[in-house]
Symmetry: C2
Subunit: 257 residues, 2 copies
């Protein structure tokens, strides 16, 4: 059984890519075979990891030309963590997909083989900061959604719109989609604002907020420039510990009856 | 002469909205009559200021239904600063605009009257974190572009793609468009990464980086929850001083022969 999780939030800079990469690495470390699907034209997740083979095909070829996921997948330097890379060509995909049949389900169809072979326990899909066709493809393909929420006031604003979009996708395109959890990111204990936002999200979404809260930590911003996840760049740092705790909590939620 | 400036970067969370709101307030304080056009469906700029009249029409009505800009504009609590608000209906505009004639120039045409009446010295357009039709409308309507760049590694990645997009717009849709400047945001003096990114941007874009660098400051994240710009929420804070300095530097660039 492969669990496919989309990491979505139209608010920019809330930690979607950081979560895909570091949660992915922590899950691999915990023995879950994981693949990150980079569906963002910025290709930040691809840049944050180091592919072990040359990148020839990307998610663009999968979505637009129907190339098999396995032919675009490469291993990363993290044992047990693979990636299907993105490229800037993906920026054009949203327009090119509009005229293709079954445009919302291109990724879901591509993932059918991945689900059948069962080579991976978990697939994490990194999305761009919008609710366009790339994010919708991820929501249609996924079993669950992880929503990173930065501990800032402006991040609260868009959550209502995001939840309504999830409900629309559930009703029309993917009945089985569930909200796996809301992940609080860049928590800064020096500010009241951070705790207020954490409490506010807990009130609006009881039982849906992950207990693990990711602290703001300078090393987290440095790791991508070395092409490494935080778990190997700074293995004992607050960020690495938090993403390992998150991996544990997620495994608990996925394995729960 | 109204200077129209688009605030653009497809990377999310780099300080586009914070710059539109706080630079707008600082320019108004310096006696320049300013209007912020909120072209982001998240409507964060609209949320960060307090309109003095009820919001009836929004930028959506201007772009899709051809309503006059003046009919959607309201004053804010900041003297000399107006806003044309956004609403979430704008999320559908990118798809609705695709089939309209002159879809890239809807905002440019709407701003013709604003330029003729000359009631404003400066118009700042806040854009969503993408290079879709809403941002393209802003680039076609604008005289100049301000690119906020967060002092983080992942922010560097997308600048090449952004500059190529600006060049494409200059060639095909708006010959007069210029890159007014790159603004470094959320500078954290405690990290080497911040200074490295500032230097890197200065090397790639000599003479284009604003001298003013916006520091990371907790009060900056708090101000929007009170519907106030930093210049009134915390007038002597590092953030307020930096945005006033930026307003001065920008006026110097705009007035230069
Ligand atoms: N916990 C953290 N502490 C400090 N910095 C962080 C943390 N998480 C993420 N960052 C940094 O903040 C910036 C934004 O994070 P990231 O790029 O992961 O967000 P995103 O939601 O994927 O952005 P986008 O909307 O552009 O896709 C990055 O430069 C990242 O390195
Ligand atoms: N100098 C600063 N110091 C501290 N926090 C800041 C600073 N500038 C912006 N912020 C905060 O960082 C977050 C991101 O900023 P902002 O929303 O302005 O970016 P954006 O580029 O408009 O994001 P989006 O891509 O979603 O439109 C916000 O919560 C904001 O309050
Ligand atoms: Mg990202
Ligand atoms: Mg914004």
């Amino acid at each position: 059984m492969t669990h496919v999780l989309a990491i979505v939030n139209q608010k920019g800079g809330v930690g979607k890519t950081t979560t895909a990469v570091n949660l992915g690495a922590a899950l691999a470390e915990a023995g879950r075979r994981t693949v990150v699907l980079d569906c963002d034209p910025q290709a930040n997740a691809t840049r944050s990891l180091t592919p072990l083979q040359p990148v020839e095909r990307t998610i663009y070829d999968v979505l637009v030309d129907g190339v098999a996921i396995a032919d675009a997948m490469v291993q990363t330097q993290v044992e047990g963590l693979d990636i299907v890379p993105a490229s800037q060509a993906l920026a054009g995909a949203e327009i090119e997909l509009v005229n293709l049949a079954g445009r919302e389900a291109r990724l879901r169809d591509a993932l059918k083989v991945l689900r059948q072979t069962g080579d991976h326990d978990i697939a994490l899909i990194d999305c761009p900061p919008s609710l366009g066709l790339l994010s919708v493809n991820a929501l249609v393909a996924a079993d669950g959604v992880i929503v990173p929420v930065q501990c800032e006031y402006l991040s609260l604003e868009g959550l209502g719109h995001l939840v309504r979009t999830l409900e629309l996708v559930q009703k029309r395109l993917n009945q089985d989609l569930e909200l796996t959890g809301l992940l609080m990111t860049m928590f800064d204990p020096r500010t009241n604002l951070s705790s207020q936002v954490v409490e506010e999200v807990g009130r609006h979404f009881p039982r849906k907020r992950f207990h693990t809260v990711i602290p703001r930590s300078i090393r987290m911003g440095e790791a991508p420039s070395y092409g490494e996840p935080i778990t190997s760049y700074a293995p004992r740092s607050p960020g690495a510990l938090a993403y390992r705790a998150l991996a544990g909590e997620l495994i608990g939620r996925l394995d729960a009856p």
